[in-house]
């Protein structure tokens, strides 16, 4: 069976900025919703969301993130997509993450928030 290239994962500058607002740090206010301790954990969440919703977007310019992160664990899930789209595994996974982010951004435009989305999504 033919295998796709591994590639690397990354997000666009805008998506990265968006993701960073959900990463907790010492300056976070108690009212801030920051459920992710690291960018990697946030990236995985948004990838999972995009994959589950089958939302995939490909950004032209990306910033690599989490070089040490072994994203090949998701190979099983995206390998066919990668082959069909003729893209590397990293590009496919990043595409799903971008898709998840875009979905939430759309929800926010409708007046929802990440926490309310989770409330609705996980309450199904």
């Amino acid at each position: 069976m033919k295998k796709p290239a591994v590639g690397s994962i990354g997000l666009s500058e805008a998506s990265l900025d968006f993701v960073k607002q959900y990463i907790g740090n010492e300056e976070s206010d108690v009212l801030d919703y920051v459920p992710f301790p690291t960018i990697t954990s946030a990236f995985i969440f948004f990838f999972s969301l995009g994959y589950e919703l089958e939302e995939i977007r490909q950004e032209s310019s990306t910033s690599n993130i989490a070089r040490g992160f072994n994203f090949e664990i998701f190979e099983e899930l995206v390998v066919e997509d990668a082959l069909s789209m003729k893209k590397s595994l990293g590009a496919t996974i990043s595409g799903y993450a971008e898709g998840g982010i875009a979905y939430i951004q759309n929800q926010m435009k409708k007046g929802n928030s990440l926490e309310s989305f989770i409330k609705g999504k996980f309450g199904e």
Partner: protein
């Protein structure tokens, strides 16, 4: 006082009760004579009378450094070799030990009965503390017991005169030695006794004690006077210190009052802005609650982060789950196909053997088959069919089973823990609610702050802060004031004490006067004692001289007794001076003379008891002594003599006209007659010491040391 009867019971060698009738010696011209060998109970009888009257028997006195030192008190009960008063057989054998002596007497026509009884409290008393002593006196129709009885005895026979009436011949030499020695004590004390001066001396001692106490008091007053000036100075210093502390207290009072006034003003102002105050308080309280809520929300968020770690798995699993199940199904199909292929292979093997070894006999029932060709065709088709089925199953089982297992394993990693979705949802929900609540509170606080924005909050807060400070200051001032008040009270007490001490310098003149008066009184009494003693000395010397001149065997050589100013006794010579080395017999006569002189000067009318009177006297002196004492002096005279001093028969024969009664004290072995009826008609029993009276059948043991009192015919 004259004795009438004497009863002794279980005293010394006197076993049982013995009654001595003294009625014959009631006449003043008669005397009583007790004669016996040594050890037969003369001294015991003498001691029985002493015990009855005075409650104790004191051993003979001994001269120590010129003073007569009393011997020890002889116990009532004890164990040999210790000497004790109770009859030994009574003590050992009787169930209830009891010793008793009774004296019946007449005094100024009145009957007196003195009874002293010692009764055991236990079955075998070991010391006198286990005895009950009862003293009884009956006189004038009245009965007295114990202390009252003792007082009654003292009234007619003073204890301190005992030795002038109970004369111990064996102690005469010691008495003589004592009289020849120091002026301190000795005869001087005896003279004081007959003058009954000890009581007066004790009175002087008491007054001296009072005087000493008053003197001590005056001395302390003088000392206090000296200390007073120091106290006064210290009192002034303390007073100044006290004034300073009181000034501090006043200052505290003033400051507390000022603080109270300020507090009152602040309270008034705060009351004017009471609504504002409520808002301020509410805002403060709300801020506190918000702070708490923030802490809680932070903790809730931490929990949320923890739970959210699995959120991506929950999302992924929605799709990965179907892939996982598909893989599992495939693996199951492979497993089933493999098993099925194995089963079919066995069937195929069996059919092929059946076909190869076909013999026309059914392998099942072993019967010949009806249509051999048809059956063979059927077998061939079955083999073909089985081969196709096995081929198909093997193609399914031929899939890469390991690859599928790896895939299953990889997919399983996306499977979230049980209940993760629910927990994430709940934690998210909870955080959102708390957040909403906090936002509401912030909004409320913001509203309150908006309301307070236009008010003079700063002033109100400053007032509240000031009030708190003043409350604290007031508490401190009150504490300091209390401390100062406590210090002032202590200083007040100390100052008052010192001021009193400062005033106490004056000596109590009344006490001084009393001390002086007592001093003069003591001198007067002591002078009187000295005067009386000197007078008594002269009288004793005179009386002793009279006695001595009657009892001496050399009246032409000696002129009497001399008692010098130091109360030393000696025998005067007619030619002048005193005998420098008189014989012991002469000294004994001197001593007897002085004792009788003392007795006469005492003025007490009581019987005289003389134990072993003739000891160390020659025949002439013994006769002269009897001649003197047995003269009518208006007193009864009891003599307890042993056979070495006075031969019983000779004495009775010689003084028959003057002897009222005479007794002999014997042990059973001394007599050849029955102790009961005095019959000589007796027989010896089996045991040599046992005898029986043929007249009265009385039996007795002559080995028993029990004294028998036998009255003699005069």
């Amino acid at each position: 006082m004259r004795l009438v009867y004497l009863v002794v019971k279980d005293f010394g060698p006197y076993r049982g009760s013995h009654r001595i009738d003294l009625t014959g010696v009631e006449d003043s011209t008669a005397f009583a004579f007790f004669g016996a060998k040594n050890g037969r109970g003369k001294t015991s009888l003498y001691n029985a009378m002493r015990w009855c009257l005075f409650g104790e028997v004191v051993e003979r006195a001994k001269p120590v450094s010129g003073q007569a030192v009393s011997g020890g008190k002889r116990p009532i009960v004890g164990s040999p070799p210790q000497k004790f008063l109770m009859n030994a057989v009574c003590l050992e054998n009787d169930k209830k030990q009891e010793m008793q002596v009774m004296l019946f007497a007449k005094r100024d026509g009145e009957d007196i009965q003195v009874t002293r009884t010692a009764t055991s409290n236990t079955t075998l008393p070991r010391d006198d503390s286990e005895l009950t002593i009862l003293t009884e006196v009956s006189t004038g129709g009245n009965r007295y017991e114990n202390r009252d009885a003792e007082e009654k005895i003292e009234s007619f026979f003073p204890r301190e005169l005992e030795r002038f009436f109970f004369i111990d011949g064996e102690a005469l030499e010691e008495y003589t030695a004592m009289m020849a020695q120091s002026s301190v004590g000795g005869l001087k004390d005896e003279i004081r006794s007959i003058l009954r001066l000890p009581a007066l001396t004790r009175g002087v001692d008491d007054i001296s004690t009072i005087k000493r106490n008053i003197g001590g008091q005056i001395s302390r007053q003088k000392k206090a006077g000296r200390a007073a000036s120091g106290s006064k100075k210290m009192a002034l210093e303390k007073r100044k210190e006290l004034q300073k502390v009181q000034s501090e207290i006043d200052d505290f009072h003033r400051r507390i009052r000022t603080t109270d006034e300020t507090l009152e003003q602040i309270t008034d102002k705060l009351q004017e802005n009471s609504e504002l105050r409520v808002h301020i308080d509410n805002a403060k309280n709300l801020q506190i609650r918000i702070d708490e809520k923030k802490k809680f929300l932070k903790r809730t968020h931490e929990d949320l982060v923890e739970e959210s770690k699995e959120a991506w798995k929950v999302l992924l699993w929605k799709k990965a789950e179907s892939m996982y199940e598909e893989t599992q199904n495939q693996l199951e199909t492979i497993t089933n196909s493999s098993s099925q292929a194995k089963i079919l292979s066995k069937q195929l093997e069996k059919r092929e053997i059946e076909l190869t070894e076909f013999s026309g006999i059914c392998v099942e029932c072993e019967q010949p088959l009806p249509n051999l060709e048809k059956h063979k065709e059927k077998l061939t088709n079955q083999v073909k069919e089985l081969k196709e089925q096995i081929k198909e199953l093997q193609s399914t089982a031929g899939l890469n089973q390991d690859e599928l297992r790896d895939r299953e394993s990889r997919l399983r990693k996306f499977k979230p823990n049980s209940g993760s979705q629910r927990r994430i949802l709940n934690q998210n929900k909870r955080w959102m609610e708390e957040k909403e609540h906090l936002e509401q509170m912030n909004e409320e606080l913001s509203g309150l702050n908006d309301r307070l924005k236009d008010s003079n909050v700063e002033e109100a807060e400053a007032l509240i802060t000031r009030k708190g400070e003043l409350d604290q200051l007031r508490r401190e001032l009150v504490n300091k004031q209390r401390e100062s008040e406590s210090k002032a009270r202590a200083l007040e007490l100390e100052t008052n004490k010192l001021e009193r001490a400062g005033k106490g310098s004056a000596i109590d003149r009344f006490s001084v006067n009393i001390e002086n008066t007592l001093g003069r009184l003591i001198v007067t009494i002591e002078n009187t004692i000295r005067l009386y003693t000197e007078k008594a000395r002269e009288e004793v010397e005179k009386a002793s001289t009279n006695v001595f001149m009657e009892v001496t065997n050399a009246p032409e050589t000696f002129s009497g007794i001399k008692l010098d100013k130091d109360f030393r006794a000696s025998i005067r010579l007619r030619k002048g001076g005193v005998a420098t080395s008189p014989s012991s017999g002469m000294e004994s006569m001197m001593t007897i003379s002085i004792i009788d002189g003392l007795r006469q000067v005492s003025g007490l009318k009581a019987p005289i008891f003389f134990d072993t009177p003739g000891r160390s006297l020659d025949e002439e002196h013994k006769n002269l002594m009897l001649e003197y004492f047995w003269r009518d002096h208006g007193q009864q005279f009891f003599i307890f003599a042993h056979s070495g001093e006075f031969k019983l028969e000779e004495t009775i024969e010689k003084y028959r006209d003057r002897i009222g009664r005479a007794w002999t004290l014997t042990w059973p072995e001394d007599n050849e007659f029955c102790p009961e009826c005095k019959s000589t008609n007796r027989i010896q029993l089996k045991k040599k010491s046992d005898w029986r009276c043929l007249d009265c059948s009385n039996e007795w043991d002559t080995s028993e040391p029990h004294t028998v009192i036998t009255q003699l015919e005069i």
